[in-house]
Amino acid sequence: MEENLKTKDEGFINEIIGTIGGLGGEIRDTSKRLLKSGPKEIISGLLKATRDIITLDYFSRREQSGEIEIEQVKIDEFGFDTKFFDMMRGFYEFLYYKYFKTSIRGLNNVPMKGNYIFVSNHGGAFPLDGIMLKITLLNEHPAKRDIRFLIEDYIYHLPFAGVFMNRVGGVRACRENAERLLKKGIDIAVFPEGVQGISKLYRDRYKIQRFGRGGVIRLAIKNKTPVIPVAIVGAEETYPVLFKIKRFANIFGLPYIPVTYTFPALGPLGLLPMPSRWMIQFGEPMRFDKLKPEDAENSALVSSYNESLRNTIQVMINELLSLR
């Protein structure tokens, strides 16, 4: 039975390994865009959001709440807070357009309709790539796709960080949450590199690390959701990790303490990212319509798909690096 399965799949698997097409396309430079909000609004939004997260909006929003009618905060079932995101949005747009001067390539590979899983490389000690991907699809894509990005669960050990990531659209990475989001018709962004991705040293930048056990592919096959490979260049330079300290990390519930040029030397100021030039490329969707949901259990098939997805993203990264 086992052997039979292997021979049947072999030709198929050989076909998958290698890269998927869809590289190239026009580069769209977005750094000339006018920001919707002025510097005053950006700073006040940022300060408000900081105060909200530190006091957990206990006090700030209290003043507005009347005795009888209380203004409803719009928090969805995964903790995404539209009001909070709007406060931060000005700052993120400033980072995206003016600070990182992001250019986008191959955005027309993202269809107008349907549900997709975006899979990307991961980089930078304090990753911004999830939020930047969200801004790209929200602002630049004509369909104004609103995505959620999946985040590692160690962040929920930390005070403030977990709440903050939840409020701006992060969801803990696990199969159940991903399936629930897809079922509701919400796109998700996945970073299969996980902690390995953001903890890689500066000298290893843009070399994709481990790519999980193919959980993304399994999810895509089961739900028949196409996967769009995304390459993000620039995130690695925002917080270049010089070395990692593992000694005291356990006290804070962290897997390691990253040391960058500015962090922890400058304290919280060290959390400001370096101005690197960002490029984001979207590849052609990988579709799994022909596969049956049972194929998600075929680990040989899954890992070959996973490998080809990793190759595709690596090729896209290399191409972007040569263009930069």
Binding site: T55, L56, D57, Y58, R61, R62, S65, I70, V73, I75, E77, F78, G79, D153, Y154, Y156, H157, L158, P159, F160, A161, G162, V163, V171, R172, C174, R175, E176, N177, R180
Partner: protein, 330 residues
């Protein structure tokens, strides 16, 4: 099954005059399908109804198996509803262990002596445990990790485990576990409502998990429905929607006192060791991490749709709290 339905049912309720029992008995009393209610409790009944027979039996006493089986066979009981669980933790954890964990085991033994085939049990969604790597919505299939160090949860988990083991040994034994999430409402009284009843509440700084509730009216309806329709299996009982703790504080005009986790943890465990507080520091996980459950099985398989969502339920509770404060309710 049809025979069972036509025959009038005789039901025994342990912890009959606790929170759920005392509200459920009047409903069962007015229902023709139930001919007898056997109330088992150490509390004397606060009311009398025509179908109710009261027995003062302590589940922690050593000879309880014999006493229970005598009563169950004398009254020809066919269904047991096990509600003898505490909704508030107390410092006397040895007694609670005897009551909840050992008591359930003894009750099950009594059932097997008499040959009772139908058993319903109340539990709480706290048995899943609050962990940072929980998915946002736990389903019935998830592992019940409990909360080591918090006997209040561990005893309920052990009670569930002994029921599942018993059911595995007896294939024709039909069981139901109804796990309620935090019950709120005008008269609800549990660990969370007693926290939200204060004007000032210490909270863990930097954590704001999403909370889920169920209104007491819905809880009673679920128990009635599960009895009426002979529902089998495990069910998570929670309302739709979630809201962060900070939102509850805001609605209830509660002043939170944010304290860093390691300070709060040490303070709470100091107070717990001195028996000045009723819960250990492990409880703090429940206000740090998510432990919400998915109510899809309740909606689709049991066919119960909660009338209140989490926000309405908590508003109803906090509204009564306000009325009570200014003296309009007691």
């Amino acid at each position: 099954m049809r025979v069972l339905r036509k025959k009038k049912r005789k039901i025994a309720i342990t912890g009959a005059f606790g929170f759920i029992g005392s509200r459920l008995i009047p409903l069962l009393d007015s229902d023709d399908r139930y001919s007898k209610i056997v109330g088992i409790d150490i509390k004397s009944p606060p009311f009398t109804t025509k179908k109710l027979t009261y027995y003062n039996i302590d589940l922690t006493s050593p000879s309880v198996e014999g006493e229970l089986s005598k009563i169950l066979s004398k009254e020809k009981v066919d269904t047991v509803l096990h509600l003898a669980f505490l909704s508030n933790p107390i410092s006397n954890i040895e007694w609670v262990h005897e009551l909840e964990s050992v008591g359930t085991y003894k009750l099950l033994n009594a059932c097997s002596i008499v040959g009772i085939k139908r058993f319903l049990m109340w539990s709480t969604t706290m048995v899943y445990g609050a962990y940072p790597n929980n998915p946002n919505y736990l389903t019935e299939q998830h592992k019940k990790r409990g909360c080591p160090g918090f006997a209040f949860v561990q005893d309920k988990l052990e009670a569930e485990k002994s029921l599942l083991e018993f059911a595995a040994r007896n294939p024709d034994f039909k069981y139901t576990i109804l796990r309620t999430s935090t019950i709120v409402g005008p008269t609800a009284d549990n660990i969370f409502t007693s926290i939200f009843l204060r004007g000032y509440v210490p909270v863990v700084m930097g954590y704001d998990p999403l909370m889920q509730f169920i209104h007491e009216v819905d809880v009673i309806d679920v128990f009635k429905l599960a009895l009426d329709k002979d529902i089998e299996g495990e069910y998570n009982i929670a309302a739709d929607g979630v809201l962060p703790i900070s939102e509850i504080m805001r609605i209830g005009n509660i002043v939170p006192i944010p304290i860093p986790y390691f300070i709060l943890k040490n303070t709470v465990s100091f107070l717990w060791n001195g028996q000045l507080i009723r819960f250990p520091s492990d409880f703090l996980n429940y206000i740090r991490y998510v432990w919400n459950v998915d109510n899809e099985k309740l909606r689709n398989q049991m066919g119960f749709i909660p009338k209140y969502d989490s926000l309405e339920a908590i508003k109803n509770f906090l509204g009564t709290r306000r009325l009570r404060k200014i003296g309009f309710a007691n």
